[in-house]
């Protein structure tokens, strides 16, 4: 297995003349938690939409040697690219176990679906443990806590054998303990997979990013390690400026 899981080359998304994404090159590698940051409107989510087939784009997205442009959403998902949404989308009326079982079953033969589920597949049980929801197997997903829903959604990608995970603000609205748990979970699952995280939270990024790409106005501004990116003057100017000044002020008073 090569470490290079997903390669985007010159990806551009044009909304009636407005370039939401403008010639982005991006490489996601297995073993990395790759953060995509940038101010509002930088094109982070639009890029994820493009990769997953929701939005039309120019350029090229290749996973394991296969071009994905022009394929349907469910075909791209079957090639092992999973995504989550800013607000967790789980099947609220169904239990945690049912949610995961559905997520694990996209490759099941059609006729086998007409039978009743007798037992949960082993890897589904394992993932339920990993995301910390083993006790909630029979809980309807709709009454889970906010953070648990996010974990469930990540778990749904894991049981579906996605090896490129695109997570859109997975810690939005989480408390500190939940954030740390999520961060550790991300590193855990990134051991054999490529994980990309769209995020606003700088502390979370510093704590858990293996690599960072900064988007600004639809284009890549900088890419590299956390230190490289945070020390890049252009990045500080467009995005980290305020926070950076705040930090220097904090350091001065300390």
């Amino acid at each position: 297995m090569s470490t290079n899981a997903l390669t985007c080359t010159a990806v551009s998304v044009d909304f009636d003349g407005f370039k939401a994404v403008n010639g982005v090159d991006l490489t996601l590698e297995r073993g990395e938690v790759h953060f995509l940051i940038g101010p509002n409107g930088a094109g982070k989510t639009t890029l994820v939409d493009a990769i997953t087939g929701l939005t039309k784009y120019a350029g090229s997205v290749v996973k394991d040697g296969v071009e994905l442009r022009g394929r349907k959403v469910h075909h791209i998902a079957r090639r092992g690219i999973g995504r989550t949404f800013q607000t967790a989308q789980v099947f609220e009326q169904l239990t945690v176990a049912q949610n995961l079982d559905i997520a694990a079953g996209a490759a099941r033969p059609a006729l086998s679906l007409l039978r009743r589920r007798t037992a949960l597949p082993e890897h589904v049980v394992a993932v339920m443990d990993q995301i910390g929801l083993a006790r909630h197997a029979q809980t309807p997903a709709g009454i889970l806590a906010h953070g648990q829903k996010q974990w469930l959604e990540i778990g749904m990608l894991l049981v579906g054998d996605a090896d490129v995970l695109l997570l859109d603000e997975p810690i939005a609205g989480m408390g500190q303990a939940e954030r740390d748990t999520t961060g550790r979970l991300l590193h855990d699952i990134a051991q054999t997979r490529a994980v990309a995280v769209v995020e606003h939270d700088m502390d979370f990024m510093r704590a858990f990013a293996s690599r960072v790409t900064v988007l600004h106005a639809g284009a890549v501004l900088a890419t590299g390690s956390v230190d490289e990116v945070t020390n890049d003057p252009r990045v500080q100017e467009v995005y980290l400026g305020a926070a950076h000044e705040q930090e220097t002020a904090d350091a001065a008073t300390a």
Binding site: Q89, F91, D101, I102, L114, M156
Partner: protein
């Protein structure tokens, strides 16, 4: 109680009880006329089970089930008219209504309906295939919600208008005066009772099929598509295929119901398959509880029974009662009759929790 019926033994017990009522009690208690009415209501209930699947579980508001009901009904009616004509005038004879309309030559598309096997095959295949084609065309383009509802309702209207214009299909008056049903005389009370038993048996089968679909992995997937279609697609499923299966199953149920309706009632006309009857189907399901298994059956039977009873007593009151019923259910019981148990439980609980802190 609802817990018990969701177990395997409970399901068998439920079916046993329903069979006992339908096959044992009803024929003993009801007169021949009332039993015929019940058979007609059971046909509506068969349609309702399909709507419960497509709408309640799959989220597709099928406002035009009259199309599939009408297809099944007209296909069966064509066979019955052919059989009658053959009985009167030998092979190749023209059905009576065509003679009256001045049609001397049997239209070519009528000829194969002399065969009972061909007719039954068509009743099962034609509406289902039509639903599959239509479903693919609509769901692949991600037409849903109100747009889908309007589309299906327009289809029901168009189908009725199309039939009104066809003299060789009976036009506005439709097809009626059937004498034989696969060789059985329809005037004989014994045979009328047999038709009732067929309707009751088919209803039980249809409910069993719906139950299996609900409990299967497919059933879980269908609910998932209803609640978050996009999510399902991003998990690698083609959501359109999942919806087409439920839609086509509902069409098949409606078609079979229409085919039984014709010998039971003795007439099928555009008025029984257009927009108004299609809305009546939906109304029963909404009142009964669209997401539950038995709710649509109960709702369809209740609405049909209320309509008959009220029209007998106060001919003009039914329309108002119908509107009132609909408003009450939507406003107070969005889950329909099937949710009464849960609603009363909640109602009883509330005072208890209010007292607890005191």
């Amino acid at each position: 109680m609802s817990k018990f019926f969701s177990t395997r033994a409970g399901a068998w017990a439920g079916f046993g009880a329903a069979a006992l009522v339908l096959f044992g009690a009803a024929p003993l208690v009801l007169s021949g006329f009332r039993l015929g009415l019940l058979a007609q209501f059971l046909c509506y209930a068969i349609v309702a089970v399909g709507i419960g699947l497509a709408w309640g579980r799959g989220g597709m508001l099928t406002l035009g089930q009259g199309v599939f009901f009408g297809m099944g009904a007209y296909l069966m009616a064509m066979h019955l008219k052919m059989a009658d004509a053959e009985f009167r005038g030998g092979a190749g004879a023209v059905p009576d209504f065509m003679e009256l309309a001045g049609i001397r030559e049997l239209p070519a598309y009528w000829v194969p309906f002399a065969s009972p096997v061909f007719t039954i095959a068509m009743i099962l295949v034609l509406p289902t295939a039509f639903a599959v084609l239509l479903g693919f065309a609509v769901f692949k383009r991600r037409v849903k919600g109100a747009y889908f509802a309007i589309l299906s309702q327009a289809l029901a209207g168009a189908f009725a208008i199309l039939l009104i214009g066809q003299q060789s299909m009976g036009g506005f008056n439709g097809l009626s005066r059937f004498r034989y049903f696969f060789g059985y005389n329809l005037d004989d009370p014994v045979n009328q009772q047999m038709l009732y038993f067929i309707a009751a048996g088919v209803l039980l089968v249809v409910v069993a099929v719906a139950l299996q679909l609900r409990r299967s992995r497919y059933g879980e997937l269908l609910v998932a598509v209803r609640d978050a279609e996009e999510r399902v697609r991003f998990l690698g499923y083609d959501a359109a295929n999942i919806k087409v299966v439920a839609y086509a199953t509902a069409a098949l149920f409606a078609s079979v119901a229409g085919a039984i309706f014709v010998p039971v009632v003795g007439i099928i006309s555009p008025a029984s398959i257009g927009i108004v009857p299609s809305i009546m189907f939906i109304l029963g399901v909404a009142i009964g509880g669209r997401a539950s298994l038995v709710g649509p059956v109960v709702g369809a039977l209740a609405v049909a029974w209320a309509q008959t009873a009220l029209s007998e007593q106060f001919p003009s009151a039914w329309t108002y009662a119908q509107g009132l019923l609909f408003i009450v259910v939507i406003a107070l019981l969005p889950g329909g009759i099937a949710s009464i148990a849960a609603a009363t439980k909640r109602f009883r609980k509330e005072p208890a929790t209010a007292e607890a802190p005191a």
